[in-house]
Every structure is written in C-alpha cells, then in structure tokens.
C-alpha cells in the first residue's frame, strides 16, 4: 500500500515534465469536478482557496513557479536580473504579449497591476510585495523594481496570483469608488492574460472557461497553448457524488478525493489517481496564553504540557485512521515540500512514558480537562479530534470536542479565545517566509493566534527577511524551526498529498505543492 502511494507521488512529480515530450492531442473540453465554486475572480482581492487555486489559469504572472513549487521560471517576463546589492530587480517583458481581447500587454499594465497589488488595504496578499519601493518603466520592455531592502523572497512573490497582470485601461474605466468595487465589476467578465478566459458562469453549477486565443506560451507541437478548447468546472459538493460522476465518465477529473476512497480508485482501471506532493500540513493550534478567557490558569501555557501532549499522540495510528496510510507525520512546522525545511521523522515520536513524566513534572500528574474546536460536519477534523480524545485519555487528559461552524470558530480564534482547534496550512508562495510569518513570527497574527511569542524567533525572522546570502538564510530558518518545534505551540500531526482522480485519457495535469491547479498543459487523448 505504502509503496504504491510513494510510487504514484513520484509518478505525479514527473508526469508534467514528461508529458510535453510526447505528441499531444489538441481540442476537447475538460469536465472537472470541484467541491465548491469560486467566489471572486480577481487576483488581488480573491482570498480563498476556491479562487486562488485556479486563478493563474486566467491571469499570468511575470514569473511562474516551477513544477516542484520551490523555484521560479520565466512567465510574462522572459528574463530577470537581481542587482549585486539585491535591491533592484530588472524584468524583461516578452515580445508579442496580448490580453484575451487582443490588446497588447504593456509595461504600463504591469506597473499598474503591481501598484494595485501592493496598495495597503487591497486584499490579504499585499505584504508579499511590501519590499517594493518604486516601480519604473525603463523602456517599453523593461520594468525596474527598486526595493526598500534586500528581499530574498521577491522573485517568489512575482509568481503569486496577486501580482498577475490585468489590463489597466479596462479596469480604470469601470464604475466603482475604489479598486475593490471596480474589481467586483471586472471579475464578472474579466479580460485576462492567462491561458484560459471566462466564457460563462452560473454560480453554484458550472463555470466555463475557453482557451485564450492570444496566449503566448507554445506547446510541444509549436502551436500556442492551451491544448484544450476549454474547461467546464462543475460544482459537485458531495464527495460521493463527485466520485460517482467521475466513475460514470461524466467527469474527466475530480478534486479532493477523500483518503478512504483512494485505494479503491487506484484499483479502477479507467482512472488515474494522482497524489500530488503538497505543502499541506495538519496540526492542532494551541493557545499558550497564561490564562483562559474565563480567567482560570491555562495548563497549555506550560511548554512541558504541550510537549507531553505531542509525545502522547500515536502518529502512525493517526495517519492510518485519518489518512489511510497516505500521510506522513510532520517533521517540522514547515512542510517537507517547503524550501528550507529541516527535520526528519516525527517532531515528537510517540512515547507515552515520556509524556507521563513531562506531565508530572509540569504539575499535572493526573492530567486535566481541556477542549477543542472542530468544524461541524468535517469528517477529517472530527476523526482527528476523536482519535486525540482517545489517545490523550491515556495520560489523563480529558478532551471536550466542541463542534462549531467556521465563522464561529474564526471569531473565537482571532480573539485568541480558544484552547485548541484543528488547523491546516498550505503555502501560497514558493518561499518559506509566508508560513514562518503566519506561524512563528508573533507580530503578524500572534503566531497563528496561539499567542506564542519568542523574541529570538522574531529577531531571526526579521533578519532572514532581508538576508540575501542563501546559506545564512537557511541557517536562520534551521534555527527558527529548532526553537519553534521544541517549544511546540502546535500539536504536530501529519502532512498529506493532494488526491486528484482523472480519467486515463487526461494527460499533463499538475497541481503544484502550493495547491495551484495548472491546466495549461492538459490534453485529452482520443
């Protein structure tokens, strides 16, 4: 079982690389089943995975992430250059770039798009490009970014959807008092720079994309990409229905295959089950504040207590129960697919005796009672919580499972008014700074709202943000991970790949570790 899975992860890794070498069929509509519809198709203002995981099929960025999600390659910019002091980025625009309406993509559009992306208050992703000081157009093909400080992540940031290029003239001409209102109008019938454009959209049912005839990239046959005529994103919220529809041949692909179904679909000769390597980690966020909201002392504020809870989790059993052997225990707070990740094996290997000792040292020889928020109706979260409840009972910790809906949980969580909650993380940028800033760096969002604050980590992170020596930066990240993992503001669980099922004739699909679905190289064999 395990070996098959490992093999298919490898296969998935190489699939997108090798598919371009073969002769490809052109044409056809890909029917792809999604669990939820997109909400807002604007690269700057979109903020949920249902949007950002498909946005780059509509909007192209200056640079593109590599297939492993760790590096960058040319996009709308055919070349880039970093000045020796790393304070200036010079980008060269490709020749013959057009928006989907046939108008040329100019350096002005690029500058305007970046300015819109970094304007404070515009969307959640602005901090990504916070280091940009000024943007100048040196000539119609050359854009120069002057940075406030050296930024080791700047190239990575230029692959993120929020820096995608949109048509300045069209957006400026739209009604609306601010960028967001204009974006709302724009995103209903967007003029795009990516391989596909929006054809029609009945919310909650189907979103139809068609090939952008003006797209710049060429396929392996020398003709413009994409190979497909279009994509129908069909919204099938129920997992069982989505899979049934795929098995019946009414869909060509389906996302978010629940792990209990993976082995079954792997055995289906008509299907190609992909387990794409991902940056997705699962964990329990723990509030480490000295007092709970009710005013009583918080046992979880004690490092030893959290370490004990970590040691008491039987990771292998958990991986079996929740992911059916598909996941692996996390070895750091950064996923193993994230650049500069350090770690091997579980952060806290299962050790009940050690857990008991630590708990006794912390002054809780008989355990204590605590609670966890799980998302109502989420099978995964409930399974995790039920398993932990049972595992922690062995060291006398009584876990009360509180099912709540998302908005309720977020409201409590953002106020720091919680004991524990189940959490998931996926990187959105091909650089570890995003995960580190949210999870470990207190000033951003109080280290995932845990209230965990470590001055050394904060200092190292700030330093790493302008560290241009890759070796020094790696050392800083190693140190951050060492401190963070040891004091354990999280209960570390496991990391899992993305499970996608495709019909056999579908070739060239890729979901990179950042979760982004890439359809530009997809073809349908006859």
């Amino acid at each position: 079982m395990k070996r098959i899975i490992k093999a298919s992860i490898l296969a998935a890794l190489f699939a997108s690389a090798s598919s371009t070498a073969m002769a490809v069929e052109r044409g056809g509509i890909l029917h792809y089943g999604r669990y939820a519809d997109s909400i807002f198709l604007d690269p700057v203002f979109a903020d949920s995975n249902v949007d950002i995981w498909i946005l780059t099929n509509l909007y192209d960025t200056l640079l593109l992430p590599t297939d492993d999600g760790k590096g960058v390659r040319p996009g709308l910019a055919s070349a880039w250059q970093l000045s020796p002091d790393s304070k200036t980025v010079t980008l060269t625009l490709r020749d013959g770039l057009f928006f989907s309406d046939g108008s040329p993509i100019t350096a002005e559009d690029v500058k305007w798009s970046l300015d819109r992306a970094r304007k404070p208050g515009n969307g959640l992703w602005g901090p990504d490009v916070e280091s940009i000081d000024t943007i100048t157009i040196a000539d119609p093909k050359t854009i120069v970014l002057a940075l406030k400080h050296p930024d080791p992540a700047i190239l990575a940031s230029l692959t993120v959807y929020n820096t995608a290029v949109v048509p300045e003239k069209i957006l400026e001409a739209l009604p609306g008092a601010n960028d967001e209102e204009k974006a709302k109008v724009f995103s209903r019938h967007p003029v795009v720079s990516g391989p596909f454009m929006l054809d029609s959209w009945s919310r909650g049912t189907v979103m139809k994309l068609v090939a952008n005839p003006h797209y710049w990239q060429k396929g392996s046959d020398g003709k413009p990409l994409p190979y497909l005529d279009g994509i129908d994103f069909e919204i099938i919220p129920d997992d069982a229905t989505r899979i049934l529809k795929l098995q019946a041949g009414e869909l060509d692909g389906a996302e978010l295959i629940p792990f209990p179904r993976v082995a079954e679909l792997q055995a289906d000769p008509k299907l190609d089950l992909k387990l794409f390597p991902s940056t997705r980690t699962s964990y329990i966020t723990v509030s480490v504040r000295p007092q709970l909201s009710v005013g009583s002392p918080n046992p979880l504020s004690n490092d030893k207590v959290r370490q004990a809870l970590n040691f008491a989790v039987d990771k292998d059993a958990l991986v079996q129960i929740v992911t059916h052997g598909i996941g692996t225990p996390t070895s750091s707070f950064l996923s193993s697919a994230t650049a500069l990740h350090v770690g091997k094996g579980a952060v806290f290997p299962f050790d009940l005796a050690k857990a008991k000792t630590l708990l006794t040292e912390a002054g809780y020889p008989n355990g204590f009672a605590t609670s966890i928020f799980v998302l109502a109706g989420s099978q995964d979260e409930n399974t995790i919580a039920a398993a932990l409840q049972q595992m922690w009972a062995a060291i006398g910790v009584k876990l009360d499972i509180q099912q709540v809906d998302n908005a309720t949980r977020v409201a409590h969580y953002n106020k720091g008014d919680f004991s524990m909650r189940v959490g998931f993380w996926t990187d959105d940028t091909p650089d570890p700074s995003e995960a580190a800033s949210y999870m470990a760096y207190y000033p951003h969002i109080q280290s995932l709202h845990t209230g965990w604050k470590n001055d050394e980590v904060d200092r190292l992170f700030t330093q790493s943000q302008s560290e241009i020596d890759p070796v020094a930066r790696a050392a800083e990240y190693a140190q951050i991970q060492k401190i963070y993992n040891a004091t354990a503001p999280l209960i570390f669980l496991y990391e899992t790949p993305y499970a996608v099922a495709l019909r056999k004739p579908v070739k060239g699909f890729n979901q990179i570790p950042l979760g982004i679905n890439i359809f530009v190289g997809v073809s349908l064999e006859k």
Binding site: G377, Q379, Q390
Partner: protein
C-alpha cells in the same frame, strides 16, 4: 378496488390486526427501550475503545457488525446508540405534542384575538424552513443533543397545533359538538371529552411518525455536524461517519440503517394500533 369489503367480511381482520400490530410494535419498542436502559448488558465490546489492528474489518464472529475506521466494534456502537436515539425520539417530540395539542385545540375552538395571534405565530414558524431554523438555533446555542431538543421544541409544536386545529374545526361542525353546547356543557368539557378524542387520531399517528422522523432529523443534524457530540454513538452520526466507506465498508452504514428502520417500524405499528383503538366503536 372494486371489492369494497362489506362490514361483516371486514370485521375479522379489523379486530385481529391491531392486536398483532400492537403486540409487534410493543415488543420492538419494549426491546428497544430495554436496550436503551441497559446497553452495557447487551453490547459485547466497549463502544469507544480503539483497536488499530482491526480497522474496517468486515462482519465476523468477534465483530458481528464489523468494525469502523477506528477499529471500534459496530455492534456495540449500534447498541449504545439505542440509548441516545430513544432519548431523541421521546424528548424531541414530548413537548411539541403536549404544547402543540393544547394550543391547537384552543385555536381550533376559539376564534378570538388570541387565536388569531397564535395562528399568525404558527404560520410564521411553519412558513420558515424547519431545518434551517433548527440549524440556526443550534448554531446559536451550540451543537449537542440538549440544544437540539430545545430547538426542535421551539418549532416542532406548531405542526401538532395546526394539525389538531384543522381536525377540531372539522369535528366542531359535526352534530355532537353542537349537541354538547345545547346540553350546556362547559367549553373545557366539550374540548376534552368530546372534541379531542375524535380529533387526536391523526395527531397520534403523526406523533409515531414524528418520533421516527426526529431520529432522522438527528441524523441530518449529525450529517451537518450539529447533532450528538463525538465520540457518542448515534445512528445518524454512525451513518454519516460511514458515508465515505459506503463502497468499501458497507457494514458501517447498513447496520445503523437497519436499526433506524426497525425502530421506525415499531413506532408505526404502535401508531396504527393506537389509532385503531381510539377509533369510535359502533
């Protein structure tokens, strides 16, 4: 369709069937209640203990109903669920039927301002999609069975109220109600002694259905994560938990399903029998 039984020919099955139905219904529900009170005596295993070596095992001698994705014994979980589900059936419907019948009888009997206001409240509650209202209330109060009882209680009574009010109006046009008035009986006596016994039939039948339905509502809420709290076993939650395993581990969904059907059958048989007994003898 053509052969309408004459009174004589139909007499026998009419007498016999309620007896059989009543006995069958009582036996099923009696056993269910017994299981609900003493699950520990019947269940072969601890319903909560994991067995990582027996994850998703099919039915066998050790685990007659198989095991779930935690390796928990399904038979024991189905048995322990009796406790929660019988509670759900009774507690979610008890307040609604008592309060609803009372309000419905009054609204059906009197035509004053109070009845008008009650009528509007009933309309307002019924008009709003039931499950959505329950979800909203449970979301405000927090998931869990206690809050589900409160939520269903707050809205469930109107069904009974409307049903009985409509029946009452029909009965009031009949001769005996008028006769009661002519004889100078008080309102209460007319309602309780004359109208209610005749109007209550459909309500009792609906009550039995409602008990089965409330188990299903528990399951729907379980599906949405608003029902019984884990790790407690409840049939609806068990079925919802088994949803991803329908193709690979059918026993996780089928056996709790059978338990729901069987219990529902018990309620229905009893309902029919009660309706039969209440039917005016001639």
């Amino acid at each position: 369709m053509t052969a309408v039984p004459t009174s004589g020919a139909a007499a026998d099955p009419r007498r016999r069937r309620p007896a059989i139905g009543l006995i069958a219904g009582l036996v099923i529900l009696g056993l269910s209640l017994l299981t609900a009170f003493l699950p520990g005596l019947v269940a072969p295993h601890d319903p909560l203990s994991f067995d990582y070596k027996a994850i998703l095992h099919g039915p066998s001698l050790v685990h007659p109903f198989g095991t779930d994705n935690f390796g928990r014994d399904m038979l024991s979980r189905v048995i322990w669920a009796y406790r929660i589900d019988m509670q759900i059936a009774v507690f979610t419907t008890l307040f609604p039927i008592l309060f609803g019948t009372m309000v419905g009888a009054l609204v059906g009997f009197y035509d004053g301002i109070a009845a008008q206001i009650f009528g509007r409240i009933v309309d307002a509650v019924i008009t709003f999609p039931f499950i959505v209202l329950v979800i909203a209330i449970v979301a405000v109060l927090g998931p869990g069975l206690g809050n589900m009882y409160i939520a269903v209680g707050m809205v469930g009574w109107v069904f009974y109220a409307r049903l009985i009010a409509a029946e009452m109006r029909v009965q009031m046009r009949l001769d005996y109600a008028a006769a009661g008035r002519v004889l100078g009986y008080g309102d209460v006596r007319i309602i309780v002694r004359h109208l209610l016994p005749n109007a209550i039939g459909p309500v009792l039948v609906y009550w039995m259905t409602d008990m089965a339905l409330s188990i299903l509502l528990g399951s729907a809420l379980g599906y949405l994560g608003l029902g019984a709290r884990p790790p407690a076993a409840e049939w609806g939650v068990l079925i919802a938990d088994g949803k991803n395993f329908m193709t690979t581990a059918w026993w996780m969904t089928i056996f709790p399903g059978v338990a729901i059907v069987l219990t529902g059958l018990g309620f229905s048989l009893l309902g029919d029998a009660v309706a039969e007994l209440l039917r005016p003898r001639r």
